[in-house]
Structure formats: C-alpha cells, structure tokens
Amino acid sequence: MAMTMSGEYQLAAKRETVWQKLNDAEVLKACIPGCEELNKTSDTEFVAVATTKIGPVKARFKGKVHLTDLDPPNGYRISGEGDGGVAGFAKGGATVALTDKDGGTLLTYNVEAQIGGKLAQLGQRLVNGAAKKIADDFFKNFAANVAGG
C-alpha cells in the first residue's frame, strides 16, 4: 500500500555542507532509522540492511539505496527497496530539495512509500503511522546531524 508524506526542516548550515552530508554514507547510515549496514557500491548506490520496529513487530530489510536526479547542491532523489523476508517488502523514495533561507538551508522533502506482503496485509492499522515515523525520524536525525556539525 502506498503512502505519501512531506515536510521541511530549517537547517543552520550552508547548502553545500548540507548537500555533502546528504551524500555521505556514514551520515546516511546514522540517520536511516534502524540502519545496520550501508555500504557503497558506487557513487550513487548502496547496499543496506535496516531493522524496522513497529511495536512488537520487528522486520529486517535487506536492499539497495540509490541516489538519482542529482542536482548539486540543490537536491536529489533518494530511493530504496528492501526485502523483509516473511514480512514482505518495502519500497520508497524521497525527493529532497535544498534552498537558501535565513542564512541557512531549508530542506523540503516529499516521500512516497509502498509496502507489500504480510505487513501490508496485516498491518493496515499501523503502517501509515510507522512509515510517517520512519520518514520523520530520518529527517529529524539528519537535521540533528547537521546541527551537530
């Protein structure tokens, strides 16, 4: 099932700095909720392992993360797909745009996510909220990372 979310963060850092961090595997790994591994396979591709917890549900997704539509330092699209075994699969992407604002950078994002398999079938009550939380957490973590220098 598909979900869409959007939001924005005002970051106290220069656009170039933000852009750099958006492309830094270590930063991304630290920001993706539950990310255990994120290994670069090319400049724009990573293999990833992340564990998602929604209450008592815990699913481990293995998959790929791609960066596309790169437009330094204005933004890109980050997308991923993961196989969660019995839990099903998850796919999603976020369009991230950076603009100068108030001496810092305004990050805006539009996320769409889709899950399939058992989680979609059994988790209607939970997955919308969970997907939103994961997206929120990622950008919140990222903002904190930027703020932390």
Partner: protein, 266 residues
C-alpha cells in the same frame, strides 16, 4: 513462530536479570499483542520472559489519594475491582472496553501501557489522569512516558511494576470502536481535579496518545460538555487509513470529548 527460550521468573529482579542477559528478549505480560505477531513471524525474540508468575505486581488498591494498579493486573480484574469502581468509576470503565471478554481475561495494564499501541485505551487513561508509571528503576510521569506511537520512556531492562492514578472527582472515557478490531478509532479520556483538567486522546493521532490543550482550556472555564460545543481539532497529524480519514478522526475527537465530559458530569 521462530524458536525462543522460555523463562518464568518469580521476582522482578529475576526478570530484569533475564532481560539483561538476553538483549533480544521480550517480556510477556498478557501476550495479546506479542503472540499474534510472533505467530506471523513478524517478531523473533530470542527469549520470552513470562511475568505471570512474578509476585507482588498485580492487584488494585488505594494508597493515599491514588489508585494503584499492579502492572500484571488483568483488564477483567480492574473492571471488576470494587476498589477501582468506588474510587474512580471513569477509570474502572476503561478496561471493559478493551478487546473482548477473553482478551480482557488475559491482557494486563502493564502490557498495554508498555506497548503504547497508538489505538490502545489505557494510554489515554494514564495521560488523561496524569498517572505515574512506576518501574523497577524509577517513577515516570505519564506526560513524559508516552513518547510516540509504540514508543515510551522505558529503557532497556526497565519493567513496569505499577501505575498510580491520582483520584479525580470527575473522569470518564468515551470510545468510538474500530468496527473490525475493537481498538479505539478515537478514544477520549477527560478528567477534572482541583488542580488539573485533562483531555487525552488515543486512536486519532498518527503519533499515539496526546492531550488537547484547547479543549482543556475551554473546560477550565466550565467543566461541561457545552464548553466544547462546536469545537474540534485540526485534521493535520491525525491518522488516516481505510477505516477513517484524518478529518473524520478529528471530528470524532470533538464528539467523543463532549460525550466524555457529559458522562463525567452526569
């Protein structure tokens, strides 16, 4: 289910030790959220620590001006507790709306609060009464305890022992049930104490239980359903799914709040 080891400690300390030894362990309280998920193989705890044989963490009693409910007290036992019904009928009525009779015979308040399901009923009662969650390590105010959907202030190895509810003269819970699951599509707990008026909402928010300050302010002027006439909350931040849109949930928050106040003042 995936394989796990099974433990049945008899003290909180033993339970805490088991958690410390098994980082992937899960506490089993009533089991009605955990076991279905394990059956679907959507959870794979390495160990299950069953709290049902732990002594001293169930029962309902008055202590001073608080109603104290042990973490392993079953929903049915709270609903039937004479002490609870006399002290605070509005709270005692909450567990009677959870799940179904068989679920209420197994489910526990501690399990419900620790799980903090965004559609669960007890979190609304805790927040709506300003309860204190007492763990084996510390006391946590409800306002600080519920930190988002399925997330709480509990740390690894921390076990809820009991929950203290300050007695409110006027308190009531109104719930619009999810037609299929029986969870709260929207549930509103309201309370009035000398110092404090609270309106807590479960089921509606995409990030779990929350308070509605605007309603609380309106009720401070006069604690009556009329004070909330025509009020609702914005749909932003409300959960939206095939059963209820954000707008419908926001609308129901207003309706259920008015009905809860009416019930509390009846």
């Amino acid at each position: 289910m995936y394989a796990f080891t099974f433990h049945q400690p008899t003290t909180v300390r033993q339970a805490a030790n088991l958690l410390a030894k098994n980082p992937e362990a899960k506490l089993l309280a009533g089991g009605h959220s955990l076991i279905p998920v394990m059956k679907q193989r959507l959870a794979s705890p390495s160990a299950i620590v069953d709290l049902s044989k732990v002594e001293g963490i169930s029962g309902v009693e008055m202590k001073g001006r608080s109603l104290v409910i042990g973490a392993m007290t079953r929903h049915a036992d709270v609903a039937n507790s004479v002490v609870a019904k006399e002290a605070m009928p509005g709270l005692a009525a909450v567990p009677g709306s959870i799940g179904d009779p068989q679920v209420r015979n197994m489910g526990t308040i501690g399990g419900s609060v620790a799980n903090n399901d965004p559609n669960a009923d007890y979190p609304a009662a805790c927040l709506g009464l300003g309860a204190t969650i007492v763990t084996n390590k510390r006391k946590i105010a409800a306002d600080d305890f519920f930190t988002g959907m399925f997330s709480t202030a509990l740390e690894d190895g921390e076990i809820i022992v009991k929950i203290q509810f300050p007695v409110a003269k006027k308190a009531a819970y109104e719930k619009f049930k999810h037609p299929a699951s029986g969870f709260a599509l929207v549930g509103v707990f309201v309370s009035k104490r000398a110092s404090d008026i609270r309106v807590a909402v479960t089921g509606a928010g995409s990030n779990g239980v929350f308070r509605v300050k605007s309603f609380e302010e309106a009720l401070k002027k006069r604690f009556a359903a009329k004070s909330l006439e025509g009020m609702s909350i914005p749909a932003t931040g409300m959960n939206s799914d095939i059963h209820a849109s954000a707008e419908y949930r926001a609308h129901l928050v207003g309706v259920m709040a008015r009905r809860a106040v009416a019930k509390a003042t009846a």
